[in-house]
Amino acid sequence: MYSFEYHRAETVEETLKLGSVLEDARFLAGGQSLIPMMKLRFAKADNIIDLRDLDELRGIEVAHDIVSIGAMARHAEVAASPKVQSAIPALAGLAGGIGDPMVRARGTMGGSIANADPAACYPAACLALGATINTTGGDIEADDFFQGVFETALGEGALVTGAEFPVPDAAAYKKFRHPASRFALAGIFVARFGDLVRVGVTGAGRQGAYRWIEAEDALTENFAVNALDGLHADPSQMNSDIHGDEPYRAHLVEVMTRRAVLNASAHCGDE
């Protein structure tokens, strides 16, 4: 790891102030992406600003069919939250399936969203649930927030402070994990609000997480697995690496979408 100076502040306001005066500064949340990247020297910064003391960003609240999660809520906290489990069980399940127990004890929702790793789980949920991303530069709809591989609409020097997830009538997240890293080779979040269905895809797309509009249209017409018959994910939109080529990932997207729909349908009666 390259050397850097370490800083932290007690409030969001002071943290932003530090960020504006320090040269080449980066915010550190749970560190489960940034620290490995820095160790590999893929990422460097002259100044690291630790967000650990920002207790104001830790809350989890449910009100008016919106689940609001503070950016510094750790994956383990979201997974274990009775409020999230009861309002959006698929979201609690998603958080509980990230990495491993030790990664979940440190990693944060805000860090995952701000980093926008193309194989991270949270972006799929944000897109499918139509989440609003709260930032110190104002609220940004998930559709506008995720702009590509590690690319977001987050302003220079701004912080993600939380996210608001509308509570759907039914939802499910299905992830086909890479067998070693446990990141998503393809992860599909399906959410139904009334008749309207949204499908968020992570891990597979060449441009990072995206919505599969054709599947959304078919499922909005008829929320059933067979509505997807004959529908194919476009291999030219898929990522390709040593773990899976484009046609393989396209196939995974189709299969995992069917599983997510099946799972979401099965839970309809409970909600």
Partner: protein
């Protein structure tokens, strides 16, 4: 530039000057000479570096030491009381839960938190998922799972009889 860092490790307050980019695992191993915490993969996957930080099992190779300022850290060295092993350590010994032993400190630290979360009533599938973040290249995991089941029984029955033992 170095920073003065104070935290509690295995019950004792420690203060050292460290560069800002020091990882917790290097603080423990190099500054404190607590070499029971191991560096296996160095890429956040193998779990050999697992320690307890403020009550949670974490990967000390993926945690800045400075982030732990004022925190309470327990390493494998802090589990036994005198010559008496922690019930989970004893279970690994009794059930041949290790061969080379390199990954064992991490497994023991993870296992204790698994039992604290789930008690002793977990099934094999749940246990396998909970062990996602620890890799062993010797045992094939069979005896590790056997050890953790035995350790869980010992920890939970001990807690029932005397609440002060069995946990840190």
């Amino acid at each position: 530039m170095t920073n003065t860092l104070t935290m509690t490790v295995n019950g004792a307050s420690v203060t050292r000057d460290v560069p800002a980019n020091t990882l917790l695992v290097h603080f423990l191993r190099d500054s404190l000479r607590l070499t029971g915490t191991h560096v296996g993969c160095d890429t956040t996957q193998c779990g050999a570096c697992t320690v307890h930080l403020d009550g949670s099992a974490v990967k000390s190779c993926t945690t800045l030491a400075m982030t732990c300022e004022g925190s309470d850290v327990t390493t494998i060295e802090g589990l036994a009381s005198g010559d008496t092993l922690h019930p989970m350590q004893e279970a690994f010994r009794a059930n041949h839960g290790l061969q080379c032993g390199f990954c064992t400190p991490g497994f023991v630290m993870s296992a204790i938190k698994i039992v604290e979360r789930l008690g002793s009533g977990f099934d094999d599938t749940a246990l396998r998922e909970e062990l996602e973040g620890n890799i062993c290249r010797c045992t094939g995991y069979h005896n590790i799972m056997k050890s953790i089941r035995a350790g869980a029984e010992a920890m939970t029955s001990k807690q029932k009889t005397s609440p002060d033992n069995g946990a840190e």
